[in-house]
Structures are given as C-alpha cells and as structure tokens.
Subunit: 407 residues, 2 copies
C-alpha cells in the first residue's frame, strides 16, 4: 500500500465547515487504498490573532517565546482535523511537530529542519491511523519548540514525505494548480499537468507564489514528487517533478509576472573599485534584498547604477541610498514602484537559443520598453512599466503557444 | 534564596492589560529575592472557544484529541506572560507541561500527575530565569499530551512546588482570600489569615470554590503551604497549612453554603436488603454523585428515602429514579431544587462537643426548618430551604463570633 503525504494550508482549514470537507477528502483518498499523513497549517487568521496579542503585550521580539506562541495554531487545527476524521469513522491521531519527530536547529522563527525521527509516525500508520501533523514547527536539540518560517508547512510536508518514502506529497491549496500564466489575467492560460522543480522554483521566485520555494528545493533534493491541487475540487492538479522527456518538447512552460517591484537609480556614480560594494552592503545591513542590477557606462569614469527591490522594502531602501549618494559623491537618485517584472520560464530553453530574442521581439511589437533584463538557464525576466504587464503577458502567452499545453 | 511557585488563573490573565499587570506583580516578588516559577491557566474564554470549535466539528468525545486541543490555551498564556516579563526586563522562559517535566497517567481529560522531572525547571532557575509553566497539562508515558481536569492548574502549581521544595505556593485568583462566610452575603465576614488543609477541603466541597480540593489534598500530602490571594491587590491572603496552636482556639472557622443542591425523595420503599444498593448504583451508572442521604422508618416494612445531589445533575437523576421506583415497587417520588446546604467548619470542633447542637438551636431560633443533617469531625451541614440561606448564614456567623477573627 502506498503512502501519501497531504498538506492543507490555512485557507483550507479556515473554519469548521472547511475542516469537515477536508476530512471527507482525506477519507476518499484513504478509500483508494493509501496510507495517509496529513500536514496542516493554522486555521485562517489564527496566526495573525496570536501576533496581535504579542504586539499588544508590547514584545514580539523574543523569538523563542513567539515560536512557542505561534506553534499552538497548528496544534489546534491538527487536533480539530483529527476530531473531524474520527467523527466520520476514520481512525486518526494528531501529532505536534515534536511528537512527529520533526527536529530543527534553534534558529527561532525561521528554523531549518535537521532531521525527522519517523518512529512515532510509522507506529501510528502501522496501527492503521491517519496521522495528522501540525506543520510549520519542529523541536530544537535543547527541547524547545521552533517554527520553520514562511511556507514552513509546505516544507514540513515535503520533509515528512521524503523521510517516510511517500509516493507523493499533495499540497492542497486554493488554486487548481500551476498555470501557464495568471488565469485572472490571461483567459487562455492552461493548467500545466506537470512542471520541473527548476521551473517551479523560477515561477515561485518570479511572483507565482503557489508553493514555497524552500519546499520545492527540498523536494528536488530528495526526489519527492509534489502535486499542487485545489482542496475543494476533485480535478487533478499540477505535478512538480524531475525533467521528463514529455516535458522537454515545450520550450517555454509558463509566463510569470511580479508587480511588487520597485526600481532605484543612482546617477553619476564614480567608477572606482568598491563603490558597488558600498551601496549593496548598506542595503543588506538594512535587510533589503536586491533583485536585478544594471550598470551603464554613460561617459568615462562616471556610471549610472539601477536596481530593483521588492516594493515593500522601498521605505527602508530610500534613506539608505540617500546616505550612500552623499558618501560616494554621486549626483543624485530616483526611485519608483511603477515597474513590474515579466518572465518566461522553461526547462527546454537551455537547449534552444533565441528564446530571449523572441521575447524581446514580442515586447517590441507591443511597443513595450524594456528597462532591465536578467536571464538564467531556464528563464528570461524583463523589467517593464507596470501599466504594460497585462499586454505583455498576454502577448507572450500567445507567442509561445501556451494555450495549447494540453493538446 | 527561597523559591516561590505562583499560580494565576484564567481571569487573572484574561487580556493583554491583565497579563502585563501580572508580570509587574511577579517582578516585585522577584525583587524581594525569590526564585520564581509561575503556573498559568488559559486566558479567560480560550478554553470555552476551543470547546465551541470541537462541538462545531461535531465531535468532542475523542478525549485524546480534546486534550491536545485544549492544552494549547495554557501554552499561549504562558508564552504571552514570558513575553510580558521579558519586556519589563525579567529574564523568563515559558515551558509547556511536557517541557516542565509534568508526567501523568493516560486518563485523558482528567489525568493525574504521576511525577515531575524537575531537571529542565531547575536548569532555567539556576540560569536566573523566571520559569512560566503552562498549567492544567502533562505528558503520558506514551508521549501524549494530557489535561488534568477541573482545577488542574492549581494541582500543577502545588505539585511543582512540592517537587522543587518551594517555600510557598501562591494561588492568585479573583478573591482576596478565604472568608468566614461569603462576604457578598455577610457584611461582617472576615478574611481568615490562615486555615487548615482539612477545613479548606470541607469549605471547598461545601460550595466555597476558591481552590480546587484536589490541589489542597496534594498540598496536605506533601506539606506545601498554599497562600490564596488576589492577583490585583497587594494585601496578604489566606494561608492554607497544617493545624497550628494559634488556630485551635477557634471552634468554628467559617460558614459555607451551597445553593446548587437538589433533593429527591422516594416514598414507601420496601424494607428489604439491597434496595438502597439498587437506587444508588443506578445513579452512579448515570454519573450522578449523591451527597447526603436520609432514610426514615415511617411504618413497618416501608421506608422513605431522601437524598441530595448537585442541581446540575437533576435532569439526569429524575428518569433514573422514576425507573427505579417502578422496579422496586415504591409508591412514588418527589424532587426539587429549592434546597440549599449550610455548613459550619472548624478543626476545633473535634474537641468541642455541642457545636452541632448550637447550630441547630440557631436555626430553630430563626424558625428555619432542617430537612437533613450530615456531620464529619470538622463540619456540620444542614439542608434547608433555599430562601432561608441568607438568614441562616448571617445568624450562624454571629453566633460563632466569626466577625472577631482578627481580634
């Protein structure tokens, strides 16, 4: 009998009705003959409510205590789901992270899983029980409760699937799967039957947040197949897996976009070694991640430097850059968040030159100005004006024939 | 340096402001030079809200999962109190029941503490930290989270105090201490500076629920002094301890009353061996505890039997008794919850005959009819009409000079 690990996110267990629906879904999976481990996130707003309490106390900085506090949310949803399964006649047992043997380092609030002691889970599975594990949490070597940071429950699920040698890790969420483009914008967008780990990683980091990149990296490392699918629909989802021949004939798998971009420009930067280091280490100290960078030699000994960051970080970055401008003797700066990133992704790109050129042509035809370009082996990203995003992704979707994915 | 264990109940930590106030109170205790372990209950309504979720799911019968669910409430308040202490400069660490080493049997929802592995608590105390323990919970030998049932946090606190050899266990609550009578009814009621374990047990079981009887029994067994005091006042409370000479000169320590009584009468019960057994074992099977019983021989071979139960159980008891009446051939039954129990308690009573008689006289003078009587070595209880309670306890309070307790 095969084993399946299922993960249900916070929106899938937000309330009694949804928890009962999730229980029915799990029951039908069990009826297909699978052994089942379920990983759950906290119900809907629970984590936000706990954060609000800590903020009210006036101290959300003691990360050890914050983790002890936040981990209770998943413990509650796990127990409630076990009760719901029990009610419909499925033997079930809820386990906290530490009971499930999820070990982590002590890096509170963003701990990394260091190993899984699967003994307890195997014992309960052997006893014929559905094991419901509180996601997002682990236990440090000191015996303290940790949380795994953003997307931690996805990572819990994949790690548990890897340790138990599960046939598949099913990530149930509020979308039907991974699409060739955002279906809210591109009507012809197709659900992909499968996608490679690398493509999914690019997709996720480029704005299509369906599953946390950390979980995909983990799955890639341990060769676990992930299926992303809708909690409340019976349609198959998208399988994230190794490259297969079937997939390689497609050059471009999908079009992604990210409107949470901001661009900062610095004018007349002296062309001396170490200047870029000053700028970007100042930003790093302020906790700002820089995405794309271009440096353009305008005239001798003076350059312009432009880079993009997440628009949420703009208020942090601007004062830092203003300081740096004075320090390095640049002539000024500009910034704005009216930019967006549009990307094409495809594992087949590696062996097909000319894909980037085709993308630039499409944008030119649509009269869209490209402000920056960044490429990797399996993606090409362009920074464009935010107003042009819809036109761009529709045109790219057509150009690369992504509406024919299921033909 | 002495060690103190403090326990704060749900109403003392119901909300951010109260948690911050509790933190200040603990800080001033620490300033007096004590090492401190704090045991907390869940915030105000948390437990009720979790119960409501389980009821909504339609399954609150799987006690293992109910315990896993409910235990999160105390974990949250412990973490929040640790955050509040941390904010005002007190090094603090929250521990769940299992982290604090509280071991129990597997009797979910009303588990009994089987031992305490004090290693982790001692390590944190040695490191100068205030240890905040989630009350009401333990860990079974199978590694499962249990809850200790009603008043479990009081019991956690006393057990931890016993295991750590604490100087005192302070139970902070929403009353100022133990009074000679309910101060809402008897204006002259005095706060007792001290009371013996036995007296407190009688008080508690007779309706003055300030601390759970189980916790008092535990304290008596291990010789732990308990102080009951108000969370939000700096007045000393009442110390529950061994009999001391000081206390023995008072014959009656307090007057207690309990209006949650119901009385059931069965008429013309055949006077055969085993009949009482039939009645009371049927009630026990229905989960109804019988308090006082009288059997009056009216005429040959037929008796009337009357007994009292908690009025909450009346709806359970009535159909059981109706069945039994038919089965044993009694002539009928009566029931009502318009009765109450009034009691006088005092360790000094043992060596002072005539106390019961004095009580009956007082009630007779007030023209109050006594329906049943029950006595133990340190208390006398009478069942009277509920409407007479106020008159009765005021008169008894005067008679036994309880307003002079502090003279």
């Amino acid at each position: 009998m095969g084993l399946i690990v299922c993960k249900f996110g916070g929106s899938s267990v937000a309330g009694i009705d949804k928890i009962n629906k999730v229980a029915s879904r799990i029951k039908s999976l069990q009826a297909e003959g699978y052994g089942i481990v379920v990983v759950v996130s906290a119900m809907g707003d629970t984590t936000d409510e706990l954060l609000k309490l800590a903020t009210g106390i006036g101290n959300n900085l003691n990360l050890r205590e914050m983790d002890a506090l936040l981990a209770t949310g998943e413990q509650q949803s796990a127990a409630l789901l076990a009760l719901a399964l029990d009610k419909i006649g499925c033997k079930a047992i809820s386990l906290t992270g530490w009971q499930a043997g999820v070990k982590s380092n002590s890096n509170y609030s963003k701990a990394k899983i260091s190993g899984i002691d699967k003994q307890r889970m195997e014992k309960e599975l052997t006893a014929g029980k559905i094991v419901v594990v509180a996601g997002f949490q682990g236990l440090s070597a000191d015996g303290d409760v940790t949380t795994l940071g953003r997307g931690g429950s996805d990572t819990s699920a994949v790690a548990i699937a890897a340790s138990l040698g599960a046939k598949r890790c099913m990530i149930f969420t509020d979308v039907d799967g991974v699409y060739t483009a955002d279906p809210r914008i591109v009507k012809e967008a197709q659900k992909l039957p499968s996608i490679t780990y690398e493509e999914m990683l690019e997709m996720a980091s480029l704005g299509a947040v369906i599953i946390q990149p950390r979980a995909v990296e983990f799955a890639m490392l341990y060769g676990v197949d992930i299926e992303v699918l809708n909690s409340f629909s019976l349609e198959p989802g998208t399988i994230i897996t190794e490259v297969t021949n079937m997939e390689q004939h497609k050059i471009v798998t999908g079009v992604a976009h990210d409107c949470k971009c901001a661009k900062i420009g610095i004018f007349d930067v002296p062309d001396k070694p170490g200047i870029a280091g000053i700028i970007f280490s100042a930003l790093a100290r302020a906790g700002v991640n820089v995405d794309m960078v271009i440096q353009s030699a305008m005239r001798e000994e003076r350059n312009d430097i432009a880079f993009t960051i997440c628009s949420d970080d703009l208020h942090l970055a601007v004062p830092v850059v203003e300081e740096v401008v004075k320090e390095i003797g640049a002539s000024g700066m500009s910034y704005g968040d009216n930019v967006a990133k549009v990307s094409i992704i495809g594992a087949g790109m590696q062996s097909n030159p000319g894909v980037a050129a085709a993308m630039f042509e499409v944008l030119a035809t649509e009269n869209i100005n490209i402000q920056m370009i960044s490429t990797s082996e399996i993606k090409v990203s362009c920074i464009i004006n935010e107003d042009d995003v819809e036109t761009a992704i529709k045109a790219l979707h057509r150009k690369f024939k992504l509406n024919q994915i299921n033909d």
